[in-house]
């Protein structure tokens, strides 16, 4: 059963095509990652799926409601949380919860119960009267999440939900998302952090308005099944990359921190070949190892290929 069904979804702004015939399905209870550089069309897609923006063509149903014809129906089925943790700074934790509950028409016994749940989940019990402004980043983030799921939406949209939050809080946040997914909530999340994408069951990479790749992290990494990646540590990484450009067995290379990742043309090419080539070009290699492809490798590869096409 699919919670979100997207078919040929397209949005134009004048002549500019922000989203170009995108199609995918998100299964119920799935954590679905949406990856793309800024301006790739992520936000436009999310805004259409939330019923805020009308598609130029194509269709999308969210929880069974059509975003083009029944945007209000969509709104009752979704929760939304953005990178800005849209809380009212000058209201207290409790007042923020009350406001969002009011917007969704939650009252009486259900309100008490949902309020207790949110306070518990966000770890804000005893801090009900603190002003949202005074909360540390991680708590604000969890309160924003709590306000977004007060009305128990079956589908949750998270738009870059972990910006500006410390690593411990990020980990805690993803634990919460995992728990929600376990209880059947479908989560569609956009993120810049490629390590976070690993938490997603499946990942869609969007580039220039088009869906460039879709699959689980493991499936996506199959892109490199026949193309090993070696990580090279050398004192002059940038010059080494330039030297590798001339090597026929190296498909491409990119900078990874202080190291260089080189994609080799086939499984028969060994690290020692690369090491020898670099040695001949005056680069001393302090370490070279075959490494598993990361999502960053995948992302760069997909985006580059999509850009070439």
């Amino acid at each position: 059963m699919s919670a979100i069904v997207v078919r040929d979804l397209t949005r134009r702004f004048g002549k500019f095509v922000a989203v170009d015939h995108v199609s995918f399905d998100v299964r119920e209870g799935e954590i679905f990652g949406f990856l793309g550089s800024n301006g790739a069309g992520k936000s436009t897609t999310i805004r259409m799926l939330c019923g805020l923006l009308r598609p130029t063509s194509g269709t999308a149903t969210v929880g069974g409601a059509d975003v083009g014809t029944d945007p209000e129906g969509v709104k009752t089925r979704i929760g939304y949380m953005s990178q800005r943790f849209s809380l009212y700074e000058k209201l207290t934790v409790d007042q923020n919860i009350r406001f969002y509950a009011g917007l969704y028409g939650i009252s009486g016994e259900r309100f008490d119960q949902r309020r207790a749940f949110v306070l518990e989940m966000a770890g804000l019990r005893g801090r009900e009267d603190m002003f949202a402004r005074d909360l540390p980043g991680g708590w604000r983030q969890r309160l924003a999440l709590g306000c977004a799921i007060l009305h128990e939406p079956p589908i949750l949209f998270l738009d870059e939900p972990t910006g500006g939050v410390d690593p411990v809080s990020r980990r805690e946040f993803w634990r919460l998302i995992d728990r929600l997914s376990g209880s059947g909530v479908t989560v569609l999340v956009t993120t810049h952090y490629l390590d976070e994408a690993e938490y997603c069951h499946r990942i869609a990479i969007i580039h220039a308005g088009r869906l460039a790749a879709l699959g689980s992290s493991r499936e996506l990494k199959q892109l490199f099944a026949s193309r090993p990646i070696v990580e090279i540590h050398t004192s002059r990484a940038v010059e080494a990359m330039r030297a590798l450009e001339g090597m026929p067995e190296v498909e491409k290379s990119s900078l990874f921190g202080t190291a260089v990742h080189a994609v080799l043309s086939g499984p028969e090419v060994g690290p020692e070949t690369v090491s020898a080539w670099l040695g001949r070009h005056g680069h001393e290699v302090s370490a070279i190892d075959r490494v598993q492809p990361s999502l960053e490798d995948v992302f760069l590869d997909v985006v580059e290929k999509a850009g070439r096409a």
């Binding site: 979704i78 939304y80 953005s82 009212y88 209201l91 009011g102 028409g105």
Partner: protein
């Protein structure tokens, strides 16, 4: 409706927490009232006046004392020669010099026309015109009295027949004209500025987007969002009327209910304007600038607050029809100063209703259209 109440309650709590908004809505009005009430005063009093009495007769002394007893003039000294006269005027020590030539007394006693000279500092034309008016009326009343004393019949037309052209009748203190205008002006600030800023602030903070993701219709949201500001602006406006009654002896001759109704309609129009601006502006700074141009300046310059509309060029007069304060001021001055009932202002009230409907309608349409 319950959602609108939730929005309203939240907005009210936010305002209560937000010192800046509260200050704009409650302190600025009082500040403006004091500033305008005391500083922006077109009444002319204590005009420094010098006297060159070359006649020194009982008639000439009567004229001088009539000037000084009128309450408008303050004696700044006696002048003996032209040089001294020039020095006093040049240094601004005297705004007016009354020159009484020799033989004035004798001429009066003979029943002849006796010219006296009034030299006036005309740099500040408003003051100049007013002072001229006062001088003429003093001279006229002295002339009349002298004629009476001589047993001469008072002619139908006074000996010096000049009607002073003074904008603001000296009998009526200018504060009385300014305060109603001030209420309109302050209403514009509190209602339009604070409404515009409150929506744009939500846009800046991202809560706007969050709210739009929720199943609440535009009308409920607008109602919930504007009612706290409407309430506060009404309280603020009524506070100004009360303060003006205490501080400036503003009479409240009409009914409070009529005042409340007219004020509410005007504030609705102002709120609608603020809301409309907030649908255009993306930042608080831009919103403030637009409100300044669309609401602030027209209310100040084109509403009849300070500058009479009938003195404006026809083109400018046409523009004033789009300024809601124009209608409000007519109704307000009528209610507060003349004690006239609402029936006399139904045209103005209808214009305010029309304005409010148009701007609120436009704002709702723009808000609803943001989708797609």
């Amino acid at each position: 409706m319950r959602k609108a109440i939730a929005v309203g309650r939240k907005e009210f709590r936010q305002i209560a927490r937000d010192r800046r908004t509260l200050a704009i809505m409650l302190l600025v009005p009082v500040g403006f009232l004091l500033l305008f009430g005391y500083a922006l005063n077109f009444d002319v009093k204590n005009v420094s006046m010098a006297v060159q009495d070359r006649d020194n007769s009982s008639e000439s002394r009567a004229l001088v004392s009539a000037f000084l007893n009128s309450g408008y003039f303050r004696f700044a000294g006696t002048v003996h020669g032209d040089q001294e006269l020039h020095r006093l005027m040049d240094r601004g020590r005297a705004i007016l010099v009354l020159v009484i030539p020799e033989n004035t007394g004798r001429a009066i006693r003979r029943g002849e026309v006796a010219p006296v000279q009034v030299i006036l500092d005309g740099l500040d034309s408003t003051t100049g015109v007013a002072v001229l008016g006062y001088s003429l009326s003093v001279v006229r009343s002295v002339s009349n009295r002298l004629l009476l004393e001589q047993g001469a019949p008072v002619p139908g037309v006074p000996p010096v027949a000049v009607e002073p052209r003074i904008w603001y009748n000296p009998e009526l203190r200018s504060a009385l004209f300014l305060v109603p205008g001030l209420i309109g002006f302050i209403g514009m600030i509190t209602a339009a500025v604070s409404t515009a800023l409150s929506v744009v602030r939500e846009k800046e903070r991202g809560t706007w987007e969050q709210v739009r993701m929720a199943p609440i219709n535009t009308i409920s949201y607008i109602v919930g969002k504007t009612i706290p500001y409407l309430g506060l602006s009404i309280v603020s406006s009524m506070g100004i009327v009360l303060a003006a009654m205490v501080l400036f002896d503003l009479p409240m001759r009409g009914s409070w209910l009529a005042l409340l109704l007219a004020t509410t309609l005007f504030l609705l129009a102002a709120l609608g304007m603020g809301l409309l601006v907030s649908t255009i502006a993306e930042s608080q700074l831009v919103a403030f600038q637009i409100v300044l141009i669309l609401a602030f300046l027209p209310t100040f310059l084109l509403s009849g607050f300070i500058f009479p509309i009938q003195n404006m060029p026809v083109v400018i007069q046409a523009i004033t029809y789009a300024v809601p304060a124009r209608y409000f001021l007519v109704a307000l001055r009528g209610i507060v100063l003349k004690g006239v009932g609402l029936g006399a202002f139904w045209v103005q009230l209808a214009a305010l209703v029309a304005f409010a409907v148009v701007v609120l309608g436009l704002a709702s349409a723009r808000l609803a259209r943001e989708r797609g």
